[in-house]
């Protein structure tokens, strides 16, 4: 079956010749009209539209946005904050970059609608430190919007006021985790907080109720406010509504960002047709479908089980190529849609080297609060590094697994899971490459230059 066409909702104007990031251009394309209409409605109605839309967060966990908003403590009398998570730190993910750099007003409009719906008077955009240009573009966009009475006091002559400020991170991955982000915004080390009691919806920024949403999620909010929650559910598939942006990197002919209706394209269509297949003379070996912490898939493996289609349970028997790209299908086969970062590896890759690369990332980025995560991520790095450097020991594969198995569920934040899943899944899927490494000490094939 041929791949469907892209459905560009969020990326409608990305890379469009002549489309610029200034307010005049955005307004020429109908910008802020949706917000104007939204501000004439009751905030509760807007929350209902988002609930009805089934929108799931695009930051990684896929948590329903409407549900998140309904958990906000509105009785405390404390101000409610909204934080735009623009940390974009999950390796393999690069979608928010283009929204921020090319269409910042779309993000501001979505953010303002979300703020109005939730009675938020102060929002912060937390952008990763490595995007200085993005921070300047956002600051300029906010200044333009303020001058046009779209941000600040009495927006568009209404009684509603809302401020937005940009806050820059400084190179730490853990600032993407929402409670680490909040600590960082408070001017501290980004040490994630224990939930309970520190659910942001109740005790977030400055111990006030706080909503943290991903950049892309908030852009979807704008389109939901525009077309209505019901109409939005017509895009995508049940429980996986709307579009998804896939960021494809690694060994394909045409890496890049592609926006499709969620669940309407398979991984095979995406990689072979849309991205042009493997590099000349190569074959696909493995793919990580949702950011570097998602569990890896091995080409050639099969997944069988029963799944719900409408009200019925039907059998499925999928190869990696057949998996529909949505949260639920990827979850069913033991991995996740995560942040939409699809990292592709071909048969030139030595899986021990690839894992060593990932493990070095997590060891570097652990915040260090929890012993299993801090020590475990370091040991996993040390073991895979020594394997790569030719001093593997016979017990290494088993040792790696045992370290990885002792981390998840024993840590403050989901980084514990995130750092153990690569090791667990690489060993489960490519155990053969790890097992006898000490004897075979495979050298890496020529083009692989990982470590």
């Amino acid at each position: 079956m041929p791949a469907p066409d892209q459905h560009r909702l969020i990326f409608a104007h990305i890379d469009e010749p002549g489309y610029s990031h200034d307010l005049a251009c955005y307004q020429k394309h109908g910008g802020y009209a949706v917000m104007k209409r939204a501000f004439a409605r009751k905030p509760e109605e807007l929350i209902d539209e988002v609930k009805r839309s089934g929108l799931r967060g695009r930051g990684g966990a896929g948590f329903p946005c409407g549900v998140k908003w309904s958990l906000v403590d509105r009785k405390s009398g404390k101000p409610i904050y909204l934080i735009v998570n623009a940390d974009e730190s999950e390796p393999g993910t690069f979608k928010d970059r283009y929204i921020i750099h090319q269409d910042p007003h779309q993000l501001l409009e979505g953010t303002l609608i979300a703020c109005f719906a939730n009675n938020v008077k102060q929002a912060y955009i937390y952008i990763r430190g490595e995007m200085p240009l993005g921070a300047r573009i956002l600051e300029k966009a906010i200044a333009e919007a303020r001058a046009a009475n779209l941000v600040g006091p009495n927006i568009l002559g209404t009684s509603y006021s809302c401020e937005i400020y940009v806050h820059r991170g400084a190179g730490a991955y853990i600032c993407g985790e929402e409670t680490g982000l909040i600590e960082s915004l408070e001017g501290k080390r980004a040490n994630p907080r224990i939930k309970p009691p520190y659910f942001p919806a109740v005790l977030g920024l400055y111990q006030c109720p706080t909503i943290v949403n991903n950049v892309e999620t908030l852009c979807h909010v704008k389109h939901i406010a525009d077309m209505g929650g019901e109409a939005y559910t017509k895009i995508g598939t049940p429980n996986n509504t709307g579009t998804r942006i896939f960021c494809v990197s690694g060994h394909v002919q045409r890496p890049g960002y592609y926006e499709f209706e969620a669940g309407k394209i398979t991984l095979g269509q995406l990689l072979y047709e849309v991205c042009g297949g493997p590099l000349p003379g190569r074959a696909f070996k493995a793919v990580i479908p949702g950011g570097s912490s998602a569990k890896i898939l091995r080409f050639g493996e099969r997944f069988k089980g029963k799944r719900k289609v409408g009200a019925e349970l039907v059998d499925y028997d999928w190869g990696v190529e057949d998996v529909p790209m949505d949260f639920d299908s990827l979850g069913m086969i033991g991995t996740m849609g995560g942040s939409g970062g699809v990292i592709v590896m071909d048969d030139s890759v030595n899986m021990v080297e690839a894992l060593a690369n990932i493990n070095a990332f997590y060891a570097h980025e652990s915040c260090g609060q929890c012993t299993p995560c801090r020590e475990g991520s370091l040991w996993m790095k040390k073991i895979t590094t020594r394997m790569v450097h030719g001093t593997a020991r016979a017990e290494d594969a088993a040792l790696l697994k045992s370290v990885a198995d002792q981390i998840p569920g024993r840590t403050i934040c989901a980084f514990g899971e995130a750092c153990s899943w690569p090791t667990q899944s690489f060993l489960a899927k490519f155990g053969d490459e790890f097992k006898n490494y000490s004897e075979t000490k495979q050298g890496s094939p020529a083009p692989a230059t990982l470590i």
Partner: protein, 164 residues
């Protein structure tokens, strides 16, 4: 502490963005580092006083975030992405090429004081790997030829300055 008047102005402005002064820690560190090039012990004390905090509160932040530096770096800062997608497309070779071009190791200032090369984690542009940031500018699809070209530009800039 010799901060430029515009930096001081920005510092006073950014503090007003937050209901709690401490929140301005990262913005102040960025502003000071942009102005002076690095964060000295004196700068940490100054920021602490400005935000009514203890110096340790600033020090613990500086040591946590990779972008804050406790010593000066070269005039140009070359950051090569080390993470998987870039590594798969040749990031390690690119980093080695920059090291060769300037004769310096990651993290160290080159002998002539011109550059510091850092091998950093994912820069969120994985689809265009290998990527390199030079100062504030992102360079995409940097293969060996492009790395050599970029190095030549940096060297030409240095030469232009030394021969007025």
């Amino acid at each position: 502490m010799n901060l430029q008047p515009t930096t001081l102005q920005k510092i006073d402005e950014v503090i007003t963005h937050y209901p709690v002064k401490r929140s301005a820690t990262l913005p102040l560190l960025h502003l000071v580092q942009e102005d002076l090039g690095w964060i000295s012990p004196e700068a940490m004390e100054w920021i602490a006083a400005k935000l009514e905090l203890q110096p340790i509160n600033i020090y613990e932040v500086v040591t946590f975030y990779p972008m804050f530096r406790q010593k000066p770096i070269g005039r140009r800062h070359i950051k090569v992405c080390r993470t998987l997608s870039c590594a798969l497309t040749g990031g390690y070779k690119v980093c080695a090429e920059f090291q060769k071009q300037f004769g310096s190791q990651p993290g160290a200032v080159s002998a002539d004081g011109e550059v510091t090369i850092d091998f950093v984690e994912c820069l969120a542009s994985c689809g265009t790997g290998p990527v390199v940031m030079i100062d504030d500018d992102l360079h995409v699809k940097v293969d060996l030829a492009r790395a050599q070209q970029l190095s030549a530009q940096i060297k030409a800039g240095a030469k232009a300055r030394s021969t007025p």
